[in-house]
Symmetry: D2
Subunit: 346 residues, 4 copies
């Protein structure tokens, strides 16, 4: 059987580049076409030397493909993707354009009217662990944001089981690649190195995504979420620390409660290839370059707070890797195909 | 008038080295004696080349001094300090030995009986901004821990005014120098670089210190504190993000509330030289090498949570700088003497 | 056909861990046994979480294997390896024990008498590109040091063709993982971060290895080599800058000379999968996690000096990757098997 | 006596910011005026929070001053500086505009005709250690480039004494702040972090400066210099490794030669406050934030090469600190005034 042909719109950002790296190693699909505006006409390996064994030229228009990843910025992505959908092509959209189900929310966070609100219903939110079967039959998958991936996976079991009160805090620490390949003062080496800072305190665009999904997990108890992202001086990785009060009467105090919560998480994720519930506080380093989400739930016995820590590589499980995980399902391939590489440690 | 003579016990850790650096630049005191076990007998500048213009040998015993800093580890510090106090020497203890007022707490967190519980009452907790007058007349000052310094200063105004509910979360991100100069796997470059991780989830020894001090600020409402420290890949700096629910009826919602809280913080710290309430989320980089604590309070209008971010250099305001700030008061010098250097940016 | 069984002696150093990572992804061999002293008895994935999908316990003794990698320190490695060789097992020794052909040199650089000088003759120096056929039929391969790999590949074409004078300078910049997993002051995060320093100016143990191999390439003109290694604040990667005067009359001055030298390098390495002659100065980042050596030769027209820059990942082409490249040949497998992963950029 | 008034043209680059930081701590001058194009009209402390205790607004035009630093880019700097000189104001120019004595060289390296070649003769090359008396009486000082400062100081004693052959190699490793505050791909965090690369192999603009000055030190033996700069992932610091063959008959071989060369360097720099000849290979970390140049000369006894390593902070001794050192002389102040701060280690 011939391999499926896949394409990448806007290969020149970090998510696009990471898609190309991972797809090159994928045994069941062939990367046949990549586009990019700034570097159009150049060989992919000229712009990105680590990709020089991929013999493709960056084009302005995609050639025919069975499935397309869009790594365009929001708004522009929707425009690119709509004609592809109309031609019956499967799409994994890495932008934010199809993540929010409510176009009024979209308008309020992104500042313009959604160009195709009729697609929001059919678009599947591609947090694979939560929407596996819908992804498998989807034509359009909205790949989750990097922060929401780590945050939602961290608290999904607790929310699902009604273990916690609705007030939730997510304190996230992200590597600088999350800010993208576009030059900016906050990503300038001498500014970002040896520095830590919070940002987007007035509200980050990933917040409505987190809220939407936690609500869908437990509609009867809409969460109230405070989310503060921070930039820390590393290239890849997001560590999210989630805090919530345990609902009364759910867990015994003391050591027993900690073991129970751990067991509940282990059960929740027991069939997952890419989510590992770990015994010790996880390190982002142990996810570098691969598709894992490491999760460590624990209870602060002094306060009765649930604390859950998750680690992902923002460019893999937080972007390109999860996109390929979704692609695998959409193409009927085993979910882990092409994503088996271990983390590059140290 | 002759300069006061000061000494450092255990100059060879990072806090001790930083004391030496800052004291060299101090116009009103003279560093006359330094001790250290491992490097005893060597010239200070041989072990620490950046200190080579300080012409001192690392001794096993201090020579006479008017004021002594102890940078020994806890337990050992108390033993060193007690005979000095008996001889009437003023002491700033950088270890944890005299921070907790309750020797039962000390026993439970440090695992042994306090060797001089009778001193706990007289020891002044050296968070200068809160105990300025007591520090000025103290013989023994317990210099605060690095995390408590950033955490307490971040929430002191809100706690004092009763603006928040007692449930408080501190999520701290520390540079690796906070783990000290002693070799360890977590401080090994290839492990710590390009990594982020939480630690001490079962309870960090700085927690009782934070609780004690927030309680003293507002005894009628004892706080319930969750504190999670994280190591991030930089050498210096601690960024602490504090979260608490606003008490009902205290602040108007919306923009007005944010301005009010900011004004309240500005008023609280208006006479402080080393605490700056800043308009934008602060960067640890802007405190590198100096004694500032930068604080940014804000309200999450969606949830009614107060979020306060503080940044310090863990080795300066979090250790050696604050110790000198206290020394200045104890010696009757202007509080800022020798601490005026600006942050080394970028 | 059943897969070959391979084992790793001393899996707990960075070279050993990297071997395990790469072997897990190798389709034609099975990692069946790993040893390690400090962590014996523990699950591999407990000590190294990123390896947790490898279901092996760290043993004190290897079980039977077809080929064994030894990642022991020098001296101890020879002792472990000799009995294996006697039992007919193939060995790739990552230590320095079998690299030097002259046991007097070994004595002078390593400070003790070689335990098995009779094996030095049969041991093949595993710089695959230079000794491919010998590696293929070897029982014992001495895997090159990290610095020699980058240095020798950088100048091999020029030396081979007699293009340069014998005085050669190698200025190398290494990531800190090259100093190993053993704790040391020079690898302590707060010391190594934001720092650069040279070391081993009195002579690094990789120097005799470089000299030996350049001599073997062109015995009629023994080189005189100055080699200065530097530690720079990154985890992985070695960039080596090689300098030598062009022999008179070999190259036209000006642009033409530069093109000629580049063509000569392209020809020399034209059949190599893991050596890429690149047009622009290479970045270590473009080798992160993979087995490539990137080489950029250029001529300084003002001085007539040849400058050649090489980049490798010290743990891959400089250690574990090259060891597997050698293993592939020794087992009759295609040389690139299991080593196709692209660099993890950014 | 009133303090001298000094101004900074283009305070918004890293050299300008560093000047402001250091001048704030200077007891004998007052920073009275700063200009900058992009940020004109803003408070200095708004743009650079670490400077917020300097109460100045960034202007488009300087107010009257006794001495002015120009931190403009080359070409534009000359234009700004010429009218000031005409009004009798003293100038330290941090740009490259007045460093090269030969305007034909200037044309060939900078690509345009020098706007004021008549000033090149009177401009003093401000490598203070070499031109102290000329600096003291100069109206216009051309502050050296960062690379030339480290390179020239490293080899000046050897060149002066005729100890080495004319073929010299400088291999420099620079922190990323050397590339400035202007955004660029090479300074983008995710690109520069965990990376090392050489650049400007076709010829860096600091090369003619190095050659000019080594020639002036020993006109009878013009050097032939190869200079290769590298970017390494740290913010501040330049480590330069200089290589040259010892001239025959100058030094005994063996340990004695090493001691002799060290003594010669100690003698050469014995009266210098900011150049330290050190016994062990120096670390850039030991110069962070201060004006020192650490130099370590050694002989490779195997090859007879002299190896000299120098470390500076590129923004201090390599720019702003040296500029203030020159200013001190020009204003008749002790050379070290305001520059006594120790390095910020770790």
């Amino acid at each position: 059987m011939s391999k499926s042909r896949v394409g990448i719109i806007n290969v020149t950002g970090y998510a696009g580049v990471e898609l190309a790296r991972l797809l090159y190693q994928h045994p069941e699909v062939e990367l046949t076409s990549v586009t990019g505006r700034s570097a159009a006409g150049q060989k992919l390996g000229k712009v990105f030397p680590h990709l020089s064994c991929i013999d493709l030229t960056i084009e302005t228009e995609l050639v025919e493909a069975d499935l397309v990843f869009s790594a365009m910025p929001h708004r522009e992505s929707a425009k690119e993707v709509i004609p592809l959908l109309n031609r019956g092509i499967k799409v994994v959209d890495i932008s934010a354009d199809f993540r929010l189900k409510d176009d009024a929310e979209y308008l309020s966070w992104y500042g313009f009217t959604h160009p195709a609100p009729q697609l929001l219903e059919q678009a599947v939110y591609g947090l694979t662990e939560l929407y596996r079967s819908q992804v498998a039959s989807a034509q359009l998958v909205a790949n989750p944001g990097c922060y929401p991936t780590g945050a939602i996976l961290a608290l999904a079991p607790a929310v699902k089981e009604g273990l916690i009160e609705p007030d939730i805090i997510f304190d996230s620490k992200s590597g600088v690649s999350g800010a993208g390949r576009t030059l900016s003062a906050q990503s300038h080496f001498s500014e970002a190195n040896e520095d830590a800072a919070a940002y987007a305190l007035e509200g980050h665009r990933h917040l409505p995504e987190i809220i939407q999904e936690l609500k869908r997990i437990r509609p009867e108890q809409p969460p109230s979420v405070t989310f503060v992202p921070h930039l820390i001086p590393m290239t890849r990785g997001i560590l999210t620390t989630g805090y919530a009060s345990l609902a009364p009467g759910k867990f015994a105090a003391g050591k027993k409660g900690g073991e129970d919560i751990r067991q509940l998480y282990l059960d929740f994720y027991k069939d997952e290839s890419f989510v590992k519930v770990v015994e010790l506080p996880p390190h982002t380093k142990h996810t570098r370059g691969n598709n894992l989400c490491l999760i460590h739930p624990t209870i602060d016995h002094r306060t009765g707070n649930l604390i859950v820590i998750s680690c992902i590589d923002n460019l893999v499980k937080g972007a390109a890797g999860q996109a390929i995980q979704n692609m695998n399902l959409m193409l009927g391939l085993p979910e882990t195909t092409g994503l088996e590489a271990l983390a590059v440690y140290p």
